[in-house]
């Protein structure tokens, strides 16, 4: 059996997806990046391997997410693709006529506008992480609520409280204020859902033509409270596609399948044995000019396999 592996290494979570030759999902994995992307990739590869049928051969690998280049050299990727394209490819695989994609992850959020299967516009959050998964996590733990219970609890709200959503600092102090006034937890939670969707639509959705079908993916799409708040403010049905949490990984797995068909099935994949290899990332300051760039070196078995971080190409191009 031939299969394709997609890896999406985000700032907060790392996602894996394995697709078979018919592009059906064989298995997926969703785990926390824990600030140690290389270790997490190595550990997860073992977990993935244990779930796969013995006759499965990986014919192509793709990486995406903010650590896509790092992940790419660690596993040996055939395709290294940005998150916007990866998510667009993934979403249109499940919802071919999708016109709007809302994607909210741990630290960033984006909106992708598609027409006739082509990305025509996109937006990403710029200076502020308000309304992303990390903030919801933080607020849930402050209220002593499991993040999984956040959505269902918010849906029990009868009259939502208005929370200031412009910035997480204001949102948090406003939430505390409302809680100390005696409002119920579920009303505060749903108020937060409304505030976050309002903030998202005012910032990332600014000037975008939001047409149905609207897909909602990324970790935050698991939160039914946020889904409901989007439906109410956009007055349209929100589709949460299957495997929405790992959609970026599915997207790059699809791209690696396509690449494999183009290049006759050769792959740079280093195999699941990478879990046992010794990887190390070190950094040094380049003093060749006044920019003093911090250069990062990725070593495998004490041999440097990649470097980046400089403004010029002095240290680039040693891959391989």
């Amino acid at each position: 059996m031939e299969a394709y592996l997609g890896i999406d290494v985000g700032s907060v979570t790392t996602k894996f997806a394995v697709l078979d030759e018919k592009d059906e999902l064989v298995t997926s994995l969703y785990t926390r990046t824990l600030g140690r992307p290389i270790d997490v990739i190595q550990e997860s590869m073992q977990k993935i391997l244990a779930r796969l049928p013995a006759d499965l051969v990986i014919k192509g690998v793709g990486t995406t997410g903010s650590a896509r280049y790092l992940a790419g050299v660690v596993v040996g990727a055939d395709v290294v693709k940005n998150e916007v394209t990866a998510h667009a490819v993934g979403a249109s695989h499940y919802i071919p006529d999708v016109q709007t994609i809302i994607e909210i992850g741990g630290q960033d959020s984006k909106m992708i506008i598609m027409r006739d299967g082509i990305v025509t516009d996109f937006g990403m959050n710029t200076v502020c992480a308000a309304g992303t998964g990390s903030f919801l996590d933080q607020q849930a733990s402050r209220l002593n609520i499991e993040i999984e219970d956040f959505g269902p609890l918010a849906l029990k709200s009868k009259s939502a409280v208005r929370i200031a959503g412009r910035c997480t600092v204001f949102a948090e102090s406003d939430m505390i204020h409302k809680q100390q006034m005696g409002y119920g937890v579920q009303d505060i939670l749903y108020g937060l859902c409304e505030a976050l969707t309002r903030n998202y639509l005012n910032n990332i959705g600014l000037g975008k033509e939001i047409l149905p079908p609207v897909a909602f993916q990324g970790g935050v799409a698991s939160n039914v409270g946020i889904v409901r708040a989007f439906e109410e403010s956009l007055k349209t049905e929100i589709v949460v596609p299957p495997h929405h949490q790992v959609m970026g990984a599915i997207g790059v797995a699809l791209l690696s399948h396509e690449k494999s068909m183009d290049n006759g099935g050769t792959t740079k994949f280093k195999g699941f044995g990478i879990s046992d290899m010794e990887y190390a990332a070190t950094s040094f300051e380049c003093k060749a000019c006044t920019n003093i760039c911090e250069i990062i070196q990725i070593k495998v078995e004490r041999k440097v396999i990649a470097r980046w971080g400089g403004r010029c190409d002095k240290w680039d191009d040693i891959n391989g």
Binding site: S66, K81, N82, E83, V84, T85, A88, V89, S92, H93, D116, G117, I118, V119, T120, D121, F122, M124, T126, V127, L206, G207, K208, G251, L254, L255, E258, D262, C289, T290, N291, I292, R311, C312, D313, D316, D317
Partner: protein
């Protein structure tokens, strides 16, 4: 009197050549670096734009090297940059530096103003000498801009990535070193030839992306995180209408005769914005309309908190039938990787757009695929 100017790309080369030509010593601040930025940020108001912070940092570094006269663009007609000279003067005096701040007020007095400034600083050098020094400085800038245009074409097509950028850096150095017109000409010819000889992929038709937005950020590679080089690495040919030589030519000479290079751009912007909103906001509305059919898309660069570009950015979505535009807001908080992700996604979008357009014309011709099965 040792004079200095803040960095905007390679503009210092022209000014140094001009001032040296009339016997005035110029202190060139170290190339803008993280240290420059830290110094600038430390002594600037938080919500002022990046050009303020960087030029303030340049001044501090130049003052520490012994500069006595600071030259800064200023006066009405710009954006709030017009007031920066006065604010920076106050900040630097408060820090205990002693110097003279000279504003060019280019938009008011044109070529005469610059010549008078050179005359005063050079202790009354004859106007003939000033004129010839200015002409040579302008020729240097024009030579660098010509080379840069060639670099943009080569960078998108070169087989060995980085070759054009390396040759460009060498060429700038050689132009800076040139002492007379003849050397300048031969150096320019030599490097243009070497650039054209770089092994290139002639099969591809690269995407063409225009760069527009706030003048300083567009011209300063440190501020825009080398956006042109990064686009070149992605196989994109960059075009832009803002070049220093072009700007100097118009602002120093031709505007005085009522000739503006921007008329066509303003004309295109008319249905959406009828007047100047300061800075380059009006141009940012006109360019993506004017260059339809000529470019594949445009990258719009703006410093954080830049009012003219914020106006442009907010009008942008209402414009029908314009090129796709990616706005990048530049400030000291902006990360390079965030910018790269956006550029990559934008380039994917443009390729897909072009491919689907070509597919319509020739259904069998598969040109380039970036995904989306």
């Amino acid at each position: 009197m040792r004079i200095t100017i803040p960095h905007i790309g390679n503009m210092y080369i022209a000014f140094r050549s001009m001032f040296n030509g009339v016997g005035v010593e110029m202190v060139v601040p170290p190339p803008t670096s993280k240290k420059t930025l830290s110094l600038g940020v430390k002594y600037s108001p938080e919500f002022v734009c990046l050009p303020f912070k960087l030029t303030l940092g340049n001044f501090i570094e130049a003052l520490d090297m012994g500069a006595e006269v600071l030259i800064q663009a200023g006066g009405p007609g710009l954006c709030r940059y017009g007031y920066y000279a006065r604010d920076q003067e106050k900040i630097l005096k408060d820090l205990g530096y002693s110097f003279e701040m000279v504003t060019t007020e280019l938009f008011e007095s044109k070529i005469v103003g610059v010549a008078n400034l050179a005359k005063r600083l050079s202790n009354n050098a004859p106007f003939t000498r000033i004129a010839s020094a200015m002409r040579f400085g302008m020729a240097k800038i024009a030579a660098m801009d010509d080379i840069e245009r060639t670099v943009h074409q080569v960078r998108a097509r070169e087989l060995q990535k980085g070759t054009a950028t390396r040759l460009y850096r060498e060429a700038v150095q050689a132009i800076d070193d040139a002492q007379d017109g003849r050397t300048l000409k031969s150096v320019t010819k030599d490097y243009t030839g070497r650039l054209r000889a770089v092994p290139m992929n002639t099969e591809i038709e690269p995407l063409i992306v225009g760069i527009m937005g706030e003048f300083f950020i567009v011209l300063d590679p440190f501020s825009n995180m080398d956006v042109e080089i990064e686009l070149g690495k992605l196989g994109v040919e960059v075009r832009r209408s803002a070049y220093v030589s072009h700007w100097l030519k118009f602002s120093l000479f031709l505007n005085a005769f009522g000739i503006s290079e921007k008329d066509r751009i303003h004309q295109a912007a008319q249905p959406y914005l009828k007047r100047d909103v300061g800075g380059d906001g009006w141009e940012s509305i006109g360019e993506p309309i004017l260059h339809r059919g000529e470019y594949d898309g445009m990258v719009h660069l703006a410093p954080f908190t830049c009012m003219p570009e914020i106006i442009a950015q907010n009008i942008m979505p209402t414009i029908k039938d314009r090129l796709p535009v990616l706005t990048i807001t530049c400030d000291e908080q902006m990360g390079r990787s965030g910018m790269l992700t956006r550029l990559e996604a934008f380039v994917d979008l443009l390729w897909k757009k072009r491919t689907s357009r070509q597919m319509e014309r020739a259904p069998e011709g598969r040109v380039f695929s970036v995904g989306l099965k």
